[in-house]
């Protein structure tokens, strides 16, 4: 079904328009992922100590290196499907490694050499100036005690993703829209199951960072974000469960007006 299980690497030597994504991460409604929900009684926060280390190392190094969450998601989305599906923290670990190599913080083979007890073929580099600049960020981002009350306003000012927009919002509550069905050219937060489907604007949230752009490391103005309600029958046709709707948070460029 529309290439969900295809390979997912960028083809070398071709531009970003040639990136083929497996979209293995884009799971909404995908029947090949269906199965009993694996509910576990008395589940621990972490199942293994290494999972906690993956989470903490990822959050800390991301903050210190200034890597944003959209770029990290995009890196994980491009992992081979089997690696993506190996498990949540396996995926984080693979994503962390790959983003560090992409940034030349890790040289290719550096980690494997360390694991084999060999001298690395090359070492990745870090600019010390960049790390110095990052230290203040660490204070608010990941010096995680629960953020103290007095620090909350500052924390929210830094962390909230609202940005000035170039234009007023195009849509208002009650407007009918259709979700773009254009193929994804890279990272996007426009789930496939909603492509080409019609819905109604039920929330208008101001302008925020567009993940598609930020995943490429680009800045730019904010884009208006909306909550769109789609009826089950619109999404799934006649065998949708009656009386069900899905609400998605979608950016303005994901939407077209319906007459």
């Amino acid at each position: 079904m529309d290439g969900r299980d295809r390979g997912c690497e960028a083809r070398p030597g071709e531009g970003s328009s040639a990136i083929v994504t497996s979209a293995v991460h884009d799971m909404g409604g995908a029947p090949e992922r269906f199965g009993p929900i694996p509910v576990e009684a008395d589940e621990p926060v972490f199942h293994h100590a290494w999972e906690a280390r993956v989470l903490a190392t990822t959050l800390l190094s991301r903050a210190m290196l200034g890597n944003n969450v959209d770029a990290f998601r995009w890196t994980m989305e491009r992992l081979p499907a089997a690696q993506y599906l190996a498990g949540y923290y396996q995926r984080w670990l693979a994503g962390l490694e790959r983003s560090l190599v992409d940034q030349s913080v890790l040289a290719p083979g550096e980690l494997d050499a360390r694991l084999a007890g060999r001298a690395p073929p090359a070492r990745g580099r870090v600019r010390p100036g960049a790390l110095r600049r990052a230290r203040w960020r660490r204070l608010v981002r990941v010096a995680v005690r629960p953020v103290p009350r007095w620090l909350l306003p500052l924390y929210l000012r830094i962390q909230r993703k609202h940005r000035p927009a170039v234009a007023p919002p195009r849509f208002a509550i009650g407007d009918r829209v259709v979700v773009s069905a254009a193929p994804a050219a890279g990272h996007t937060r426009r789930p496939r199951y909603a492509w080409g489907k019609r819905g109604t604007i039920v929330g208008v949230h101001g302008a925020m960072v567009l993940p598609d752009r930020r995943a490429r490391g680009e800045r730019g103005p904010g884009e208006h974000l909306y909550t769109v309600e789609l009826a089950g029958a619109e999404l799934w046709g006649g065998d949708a469960e009656p009386g069900t709707t899905v609400r998605l948070d979608l950016f303005e460029s994901y939407l077209e007006a319906l007459p």
């Binding site: 991460h25 799971m27 909404g28 409604g29 992922r33 269906f34 199965g35 929900i37 694996p38 509910v39 576990e40 926060v45 972490f46 293994h48 290494w50 906690a52 280390r53 989470l55 903490a56 190392t57 959050l59 800390l60 190094s61 210190m64 949540y88 670990l93 490694e97 560090l100 890790l106 550096e110 980690l111 360390r114 694991l115 990745g124 870090v126 995680v144 005690r145 629960p146 103290p148 909350l152 924390y155 929210l156 909230r160 993703k161 937060r189 789930p191 949230h205 960072v209 993940p211 974000l225 999404l235 469960e241 009386g243 069900t244 709707t245 899905v246 609400r247 948070d249 979608l250 950016f251």
Partner: protein
């Protein structure tokens, strides 16, 4: 290439420490935050307050990030928090089909099933069946509203206050609010019902 994740993350930590990017004290502090400082007990405080304080409930539904800040609550993955309220007519349930977005600062880290391909794929497609399977059978006249956290808004479900709890104070009410009821796949405990992890 070794596939043992414990060995790989250990070696990676060592390299990143040598490069001055991470330090073990901060790594430990982050782990302890997720293990001990955040969890569903925080969200339960928010829900219990909304049950007893109508003005707070209004503020919570209008701007949850600002409302929880009144209780000194806030932080990672609650910067754009949205509270959605269950009523006899509408039941809310939360998912992230594209990854596993979850309001960490109020609920802690998500359970494994929330991150599973099975939940992520099915709950938008057949929410009633999924909820029934998880022990929550809804009458056909209740509309099921699935929130797919596709941007940076994070959702907290405010379940209905259980009947027979009029005499309970806020603290006792918070004990009834389960993690699953704040994701929308369960109900709060009835008074006297034994505590379970979910």
């Amino acid at each position: 290439m070794t596939e043992d994740p414990a060995a790989r993350i250990g070696a990676l930590e060592a390299i990143l420490t040598e490069k001055g990017i991470i330090d073990s004290e901060t790594v430990e502090r982050i782990i302890s935050y997720f293990e001990t400082r955040v969890g569903p007990m925080t969200g339960a405080r928010v829900v219990a307050r909304a049950w007893v304080d109508a003005a707070f409930r209004e503020r919570l539904l209008a701007d949850a990030t600002r409302a929880i800040a009144e209780l000194g609550i806030g932080g990672l993955q609650a910067e754009h928090l949205v509270a959605v309220e269950n009523t006899p007519r509408t039941h809310n349930v939360v998912v992230c089909t594209l990854c596993s977005c979850y309001p960490w600062a109020v609920l802690g880290l998500p359970p494994a099933w929330y991150k599973s391909p099975e939940y992520r794929s099915r709950v938008v497609r057949e929410p009633r069946k999924v909820l029934a399977e998880m022990g929550l059978a809804l009458p056909p006249e209740t509309e099921v509203r699935v929130w797919d956290s596709s941007a940076e808004l994070r959702y907290l479900v405010v379940p209905e206050r259980p009947p027979g709890t009029e005499a309970l104070d806020e603290e006792a009410l918070a004990q009834l609010v389960t993690r699953d009821s704040m994701i929308g796949v369960g109900s709060p405990r009835a008074p006297g019902e034994p505590e379970s992890a979910r």
